[in-house]
Symmetry: C2
Subunit: 359 residues, 2 copies
């Protein structure tokens, strides 16, 4: 265990170069030596030290994945997709969390660059217009080790950098469709919007979609129907409780994520509001929990696993192109298809068979 190429070489009675050639599949090794080397490798259970190799060829086969929090259910499937595709392409996945801190994010990117990761997959929290953030975002397509680029691919949404790839869905359109669905199919007239923090890019896009849906369907946009929450179930719960206390009317609720939607569900239950008869509820993301709660939660299905897998696939592709000498592959923003999933929170008794619940 943990023998070096040197020992293998001496054991096989050949030079280090020859061992290296055998390992890396060079043609120019005589059958005799090849056999000898292979024997020595087998006997010593040798496997090349990737650190040393990495140092030499400046390729670590590590991909950094930076997300806000592992415990955000949304990322679970994404990670799984990344992990699977990474393995298929011979990469390892190094995970780190920002916990929504942009400072942390900037630090991590820098750290991973110093670690010589081959690429970075990033769920960024870098919105806003501060100088520091802009500078950071601008720098993201210039990351490099020894002159060769370290590609960055963002998840969820494209960042404001014309050279950084992204794998995402159309967040504005998804929100638009969800709200339009509530209006046209479910005949809601008075829809609340439970939001993630406004400053977040995703929050803004979903708000735009929400507004457009109201406008195009001739419904008024009421600022008081919009509540800024903080991602958590409890914040969604509190928001609805408060509005109910104020005795305001509503017959539909669009939530920016499923977590808050579950809180909303609980609040309605306590308030003895019937779902979906009195109020129809739409979540967003379609994490597995949506189909586990009762009433089950209608949501916008985001192909999370595919998002992760595709990001990693693209990463491998870009890396290959870079290796092949094509310096800067053209930017790609890959748009995945979302889909509205109807469940009991908008359609009475519309339960799906447990068979389809892969949990």
């Amino acid at each position: 265990m943990s023998v070096s190429i040197k020992e293998v070489a001496s054991r096989a009675g050949v030079s280090i170069s020859t061992v290296s050639r055998v390992i890396n599949g060079s043609k120019n090794v005589s059958p005799l030596l090849k056999v000898k080397v292979e024997k020595a490798i087998a006997e010593t259970n040798y496997s090349a030290n990737s650190i040393a190799r990495g140092l030499k060829i400046s390729k670590t086969n590590n991909i950094a994945v930076i997300i806000t929090a592992i415990s955000r259910t949304f990322f679970t499937d994404i990670l799984e997709g990344i992990s699977k595709e990474a393995e298929a392409n011979g990469y390892s996945v190094v995970v780190a969390e920002t916990h929504d801190s942009i400072e942390k994010e900037i630090y991590l990117v820098d750290y991973f660059v110093s670690q010589w990761v081959d690429g970075i997959i990033l769920a960024s929290s870098a919105y806003g217009d501060g100088l520091k953030v802009r500078k950071y975002l601008d720098s993201l397509d210039k990351l490099n080790k020894k002159g060769t680029r370290i590609p960055v691919i963002t998840l969820e949404y494209p960042i404001n950098n014309k050279n950084v790839d992204a794998v995402t869905i159309d967040n504005e359109k998804a929100a638009y469709e969800a709200v339009t669905y509530l209006i046209r199919q479910i005949h809601c007239k008075n829809i609340l919007h439970i939001c993630i923090p406004f400053e977040h890019y995703l929050g803004q896009k979903r708000m735009e979609g929400f507004r457009r849906a109201l406008e195009e369907n001739g419904l008024p946009f009421l600022q008081e129907n919009v509540v800024e929450c903080d991602y958590t179930s409890y914040s969604g719960y509190k928001a609805v409780k408060k509005i109910a206390e104020e005795r305001r009317d509503f017959d539909g609720i669009f939530c920016d994520n499923d977590q808050m939607a579950v809180g909303v569900l609980k609040a309605c239950e306590e308030l003895q509001i019937r779902i979906p008869e009195d109020v129809a509820i739409m979540g967003n993301d379609d994490v597995f929990v949506a189909s586990v709660v009762s009433p089950s939660l209608s949501s916008i299905h985001v192909p999370k696993y595919e998002m992760g897998a595709l990001a990693m696939k693209r990463m491998a592709e870009v890396l290959e192109m870079i290796e092949a000498g094509k310096k800067c592959p053209k930017r790609k923003v890959l748009l995945l298809q979302h889909e509205i999933v109807e469940r009991e929170s908008t359609v009475k008794d519309n339960r799906e068979s447990l068979q389809y619940l892969f949990w």
Copy 2:
């Protein structure tokens, strides 16, 4: 970006050694040179290449975490705990999945050893008594790079290797207590056991606990009340459906995990079995979903986050001891306390405030 120590040295007009000293905080640098070097570092935005350093001092600051699947909700909190504590101690986390394949697990351990990770945190699937598995388990305390040990810490249960640390709960006792609770508190007389695969070590421990609880409370152990399932909700669902079809009686169900318990819940709902009046249900693990479903699910709380955090903490500690020259720290099996959480699936209307649902 990506400058080498060489450039910094020449820019500062000092030797590489001096730069190295400054970086690593040596006392033996004159203030003058120190300032010069720090200036050069700042100007070039230099940060030491961890690959090269790793090669030299054979320490990568990477900890491999090998789990069965990222999407197993059980691991989410564990990963979060590991990640947090890793960061606090200056380590990075490299995650990989075995998908319950022991071959994959063996491969991954080998792979990470060749990657020179500093340590491995492992949720093993290596049960059974095959020669290969035994050999593998035996090898686990001999992993090393350049003669220094690569410590392994297992999660969930201690493996059969007298030198590998573990962070776990007492799985037999937890099952025993859960079933005893069903018998004594809830007065169940006829309890089903929905199991994870029998061959799994955890499955066996929980079965032992189940049997002991019945015996000590004077209830008969009936083989037909034990159903082997496969972790998934759907398998739990099917199991209960089948038993109901056979018109067999039961008034309590102990499930080896919450996932299957949720399937059981759904089956009961469809069968119009009242919970908890007709049948009381206990899950295991207490993943967050347990408090989100309705009726909410009583479960055995496993301190998952703490399990991960403690494993990583112990890892850092062991690594430090090894560095300090204490060759082989004595084995520790850290036992965390589990706890029975009563919710609506065993106690009518026993709902907890959403406030305590941190999701």
